[in-house]
Structure formats: C-alpha cells, structure tokens
Symmetry: C2
Subunit: 341 residues, 2 copies
C-alpha cells in the first residue's frame, strides 16, 4: 500500500524549491511513499523533471496562493479564501493523503486542521509536540508548544497521554517517564493547574509520573515526556533555541580567531578542531530537529519551521512518515479511550 | 559614610566558608564598605582572622541556625523560628545595614523581606530581576523571575517601571527599551494579560515600549528590559541556563577528544584553542551573572544562587553594592510615583 504525504510547498521563508527538494529527498529511497505537492504547478513540475530519481508516483495539486498572514481566520475557515495550506489539508481530510507537512502559520494550520480533519476521539484540545535531543542520548517530547496558551489540569492530563503515546510509538520507549514543567521540584510549588495535574497524573496507572522538571533540566534526560501549558512550553523551547544559537555564535567568533591555524604548517590539529566544533554545531542544529507534531487530531499533521532549509524540511517530512507508520493518531485515541473506560 | 551590607552566611550548598570568602573578596578593595556577617560566629571569626586584608570594620552577628526549607512560613514570619536569614533581614529592616545578600530559599527571602523590610512606595507586588549578557554586549534585565507566578496587566506595567529604573541606574542606559515576553511578535498574539499590558505600556510616556520579544531573542540585544509574569520568566531563564550548560557539556566532550593535541610537538595551536574555548565557557558561566535582585522592596535585597562558588557570591555582593550606590529602591519608588502623579 502506498503511503501518501501532502506537502504545502508555499509559505516558507526560503521559497518553494527548498521545500520541494527537501520533501523529494526524504522519500527518494522510499518508492512506497508518494507525495502530493500542493502549490504553483509550473515550478513543481520543473523541479520534479530536474531530479534523477523516479517521480512519476508523485502528484501535483495546483493551488498557487500561499496562505496570507493577514487572511481573516473566519473567511479561511469558511473556505472563502483559497490557499495551498487549505488545499493540502483537504487532501488529508478527504482521505486521499495520510499526512500533511506545512511550513505555514502554526495558528492557521492548527485551526484549519481542527476544522477540516477533526480531533482524534476523546481529545478536547490538540497540542503541538516536539522531540528534542537530551544529554542522555534519549530524546524528550515537549508539549504543548503553543496550541493552547493556558491549560487546565484536565488538559495537562490529556497532554501527558498524548506524549506517552508519542514516546511509546515513535521513540519506542516501553513506559515513558512523564514530568510536568514547573518552577520548583517540591510537590507544593507552582501554579494551581500544575499542582492539580500532578495529582491527576499520580492517580493514573496508565502514566508513569516522575514529578516536576524545572526548565534547566529540559535536556538532562530525566524525563521522556515533559508537559506544560502552551505559553510556558513555547517559552521553554524558544529560550533553549536562543541560548543554543548564542552559544553557536560565540563559537563561530572563536573559530574566526583561530582561523590563522589553518595556515600553520601542520594542518592536522586545525582540521581536528574544526571537525570537533562542527559536531558541536550539529548537536545544536535546529534543522536536525525540525518538525513539530500537531497531536490529538485524527490525522498526522506536521509543522515545519518557516525558516527550514532543505535538510530541515526533509526531517519534518520524515517525522510525518514515522508518525503515520506508527499510527500515532490511533494510539492517542486508544490511550485516551483506555483511560476513559 | 560607611556602607553596610548584611550577609546571610548560611544556607548555601557549598557551605559558609565559600560565602564569607566571596563576600570579603567583593569588599577587599573597598574600605568604605563594611559587612555584617550573620551565622555561626566561631567559623566566621576564624575565616576573618585568616585574611591578610583589614577586617576590623566588619561585624559578626551570631545566628547559627540556617533557615530550614521545612520551616513553616507562618511561624517564620511571626518570628517564632530564628534563622540567620531572618537575623540578616532584621539588620536591614532596623536601618543598621543598607542591603542584604542571601543564598537561602528565594520564597522565604521574598516573604520575610516583604514582611520585615516592606515594599517601596507605590509597589503592589515586588519582583525578582536579573541582568543577563546579550550578543550586543549590552546586558538585558529580565523580570519577574518567579516572585509572582501570575501577573495581571497592571503588575506587568509596574514591572516595566522597575526594570526601567534598574536599566537606567545600574546599567546606565538613558531610555531603556522595554519589551514584553510573548509567543509571537504580532500585536494581536498571546494571552490577554500580555496584550492588555502592551496597551498600557504603549500609552505610558515614561516607558520606551518596543513591543513583544520571543524567548529565542532574550539574548539578541533588542531590548534592555524584558517583562514577563513569574512562571514564564522563570522558565525562560532556566531553559536558557540549561541549554547553555548542555552546550558547555558538549564542548567539554570535544575538548577531551582534542586532548592529544596537547602532546603535539607544537603546543601553540592547542593553547590557542583552549584559550578560545575558555572564553566561550566564561561567556556562559552563570557565576559571573550570579545575583538576582528582589526589586520593589524599600531596601536592596539580593538573592545568590544556592550553588554559587566564591567568585559567584562575590558577584552577588557587588550587585548589592551597585544597587545601594545607585539608590535603586528610591528610583523605583520615584518612577512609580511619577507615573501616579
């Protein structure tokens, strides 16, 4: 059975070609996966014909207008405003595609997906989740990253189930450790919604609750899932990315100071230094962790960073493929149904 | 006139000696500053007598019991439980000291300070503020870091005034740029309290409001003051510290890989590499930025990280000295009074 992924090729900073090339890279070695490339048909066909790999399995859906950030959300939801994002979501909603990847506006993507694709059974509010590297080598899932600015204890409890399903199925962890993001590690600390959620998690046998995690331990590897309301989760993720970028900036400056090394008689030490620093950059390259999952919907929807490069977008497409193959939406519905039963 | 700083010498992870030595380092070249060292008198006197610098100006207040994290806050506030923190705060409250530095519990420090020292005129809720390095070289003040988990628009507005006073007086910036922490840069984005606060700031001529800042731009240098409610501010700060620590960890691993360089015939490149990496570590050394200010109180109260080393604690003491010399509490009261007038 061919798996089909819809690609919204418009709305990224770097232009459609980067996304199309990245998506084709992601499926080049997978003849069992076909893309539905939605966007400006001429440029898509030109890029397709320029590739050496077989691309007859892919389809092109003409929808040359990117979703505009100034589009009225109400008109967009009503269908009065056409956009490549909407066309791509429709191809998932009508069952002709199994998943969608878009680099467009997160807010519009979530609103349109909820409206057209619908929520997974038992889900009150879908969330945005992302897998991040940790010092232990085992990734951590962080959610919600901004779909819900505020969340009550019951929502946080649902996010814990969604995160558990993601860590079990995508990361392959048997009983994922779930922590709540808080500003202290003691039980009595923090806002009321977080404290009440901690009680709900402690009483839920389907969740392996390991207490609170403070934001300086996001990457310590002490949890497989970290749950937060969207505002705090978004701040935690972006602050980490900002600090990592500043570290990379300082490193680049140092590399520049070290540049004269390159002209030294023995090139060997300089080469080893720059290989080492390249490994550091890679550990912090957000492109390698690109692709946030909109979870709690009845289909797989992945949001790529708007500034993704070709490799970054390919990574987001691989995330979508993994989630389809692991039946993430069904698993989440199953987790929540088991809980309600 | 001698300036007097009270030092709570108990309650730090590394023990009293590290704090006492750090505090004495901070004032070694300042004969116009005297310390009131509060804690276990024998060890304080032993450390004092071991120093070559003149220390007759310092006083010792015996109060050998550290504040215990399990102490009931109610009994602590009532004065039924003695502690070095309480004794030190009392010496500020009764006017015999101008400022206090403690590495004890933030929550207890804020509660006791509010109770015994009181708020600056016009302040509803004091906040915790910290100065952090940015890519531009100009530091940024971030507040609130957790004194108030939630904050309404009016509180955020007051924090903006406190941050403006700090940046003007301590950092010496004429009209500091003030931003609100949010999850997007567009005016209509984010939670209601942040959006309403943005309106209040835009209408206030005493504030140079520059819009929203996302957490990945905390260190970009685009603002001199960043205002958030305590939960989000705490998460932003700790997530940044955690990411920086992880970067340092990766760098250390790389340095270990590069260790054989040291044995190479030419030591010169290896030395320059490690000097460069040492600069990177220093840029991220939280000890160099130790010392969070409890602002909005009628006196200068500085909280040191519990894990501070000698240099870190000295840095916190220097922060307290700077704020006393710059009359920060009076300036904050002045800012808020000007606004109310």
């Amino acid at each position: 059975m061919t798996l089909r992924i819809a690609i919204d090729t418009l709305g990224a900073d770097a232009g459609a070609a980067v996304l199309i090339d990245g998506a084709l890279d992601a499926v080049a070695a997978r003849p069992d996966i076909a893309l539905n490339l939605v966007g400006e048909p001429e440029s898509i066909r030109r890029l397709l014909s320029g590739r050496s790999d077989d691309h007859n399995r892919h389809t092109v859906t003409p929808s040359p207008r990117p979703l505009d950030l100034t589009d009225s959300l109400r008109l967009t939801l009503r269908g009065a405003l056409a956009s490549s994002m909407r066309s791509a979501i429709e191809s998932v909603a009508d069952g002709s595609c199994d998943a969608l990847v878009s680099a467009g506006s997160t807010g519009a993507l979530m609103a349109l997906s909820r409206h057209l694709v619908g929520r997974a059974q038992g889900v009150d509010r879908p969330a945005i989740a992302k897998r991040l590297p940790t010092a232990s080598g085992r990734p951590v899932w962080l959610l919600d990253l901004g779909a819900n600015l505020k969340a009550g204890p019951e929502q946080l409890h649902q996010f814990a189930h969604m995160g558990t399903a993601l860590a079990e199925s995508v990361t392959g962890i048997a009983t994922p450790r779930v922590a709540l993001l808080n500003i202290g590690s003691e039980f009595h600390k923090g806002p009321a919604n977080v404290r009440t959620a901690a009680q709900l998690l402690a009483e839920d046998n389907a969740i392996r609750h390991v207490g609170y995690v403070e934001a300086h331990d996001l990457f310590a590897g002490s949890a497989d899932v970290i749950v937060a309301e969207g505002f705090a989760g978004n701040v935690a993720l972006k602050a980490s990315e900002g600090a990592a970028q500043m570290a990379a900036h300082v490193l680049r400056e140092e590399l520049r100071r070290l540049a004269p090394l390159e002209t030294a008689a023995s090139q060997e030490p300089a080469e080893r230094v720059s290989a080492g620093l390249r490994r550091v950059f890679n550990a912090y390259n957000p492109q390698l962790y690109n692709g946030a999952s909109l979870v709690g919907l009845s289909r797989v929807i992945v949001k790529s960073h708007g500034g993704a490069d070709r490799e970054g977008f390919a990574q987001a497409v691989r995330t979508a493929i993994e989630e389809v193959e692991m039946n993430v939406p069904e698993r989440i519905a199953g987790c929540l149904a088991g809980r309600l039963a």
